[in-house]
Amino acid sequence: MIRVLGNFIEIIRGSVITARHFIVNMWFHIVNLLGIKTQRKGAVTIQYPEEKKELAYRHRSLHRLVKRENGKPRCVACMLCATVCPSDCIYVEAAEDPDPEIQKYPSQFIIDLSRCCFCGFCVEACPEDAIRMDTSLIEVAGDNRDALVYDKDNLLR
């Protein structure tokens, strides 16, 4: 009998907790609907396509190839990124650069984003700081596989 009574009290307490959640959140919803700014909101939800969460400083987003001052890529086609890539999704083709200081430049630089796992090893490996993942573009999507194969023109920015 006492156990049943104890269970009953716990049952009531459970509904009081959820009711409190409801009332507190409803209060903040109504206050925000009336246009009054409060410290917290009624829900933790971020309404995604309309409002976006600020990305962290070190967030790894879409790759970009860093340019030199004359607009050419900084990349010297050393192949370190293609070697370190665990998904094997980077393809670099080297060509000779007329400038003896640079010697090589990538005539093709292709990243297959449908295979990329965004681990950031290519950024770590690059000796020239030529590839970075700081574009803050996270909505990488395409209708077919070819749309996800980004070449030098897409990546150079």
Binding site: G14, H21, H29, T45
Partner: protein, 357 residues
Amino acid sequence: MSDILIVLFKIMGTLSWFLTLTLYLTWLERKESAVMQDRVGANRANILGLRIIGLFQPFADAIKMIFKEDFTPRFSKKFLHMMAPFVSFFFVAVTITAVPFGDYVKIAGKTVKLQILDFNVGLLFILAMLSLGIYGVILSGWGSRSRFSLIGGMRGAAQIISYEVALGLSLIGLIMVYPTLKLSSMVHFQGEMILGFIPQWGVFLQPLGFIIFFFAALAETKRVPFDLPEGESEIIGFFAEYSGLKWGLFMMTDFMEIIIISTLITTLFFGGWQVPWLAADGFHFPWGGEWLLPHWIVVLFQVGAFNIKVFFFCWLQVLIRWTYPRYRYDQLMDLGWKLLVPLSLINIVGTGIVMSL
């Protein structure tokens, strides 16, 4: 002629109230659960970009359900399979006839009761129709000719029958106190006062009866703490073989049962359309003040009070559905037969002793 028109108008009004509330109870369920869990809830359905906190969501749901394939399994008993959702829908839908929404309205020299039919046995009628709703459950399990559905249907029938006992017994104390089964006179009886200032509501006269009735009624609605007949995700329920609008009818039946249970609790235990200290001509406060009101404002107060009470109990039932985990089957039977039935018997004996004093 005009009497028939009035009855038709009452039926139309009551049914549209009932079905609109059912439709928006789905919205309430989504939104309330969301607010309880720090979410926002469905708010994307819109008409021409107009999304008023998701108020069009029920229509989107309905359109989706109408255009889904209405699949009948090859092995099912076609006629029974088709009948079952309509049976359970019908028996819940007719119960609304006996519910009093307000006292009466005077229109053009006529006195119109705000109730479709004022039975002498209104309470028994509602209880009988609610129990007949089991046939929908059993028929759907039997007609589907699927083991899972059959077991689910039998489980549902066993649950509803065993809670029917506690439901009926818990009301006997109430019937002893109000010596009537007529719902409108029950509500009138609750308009009087205890000690001159406490409204004589059923919950003050029969607190234990109210608790038993509330638990048994929750089990009747077949929703989460007692959702063994359905158990959509884990233990497959009686409507496993249904799809599209027929499944939607079962779902609507659930929501309509919530409303009916709320109206019953309101009518039997919380004074129905009675507002404390409001008589037919205005407020008469126990400390001597008076506030006389015209007839139509009094009617508005009564209907509004009834609606607010019903909404509150709908809210409470949705809160309960989103708070508790499901009972195990033996726990469910224990609660019904070993706790609620003895308690309601004690309630009857206690009521008898107090009344004979």
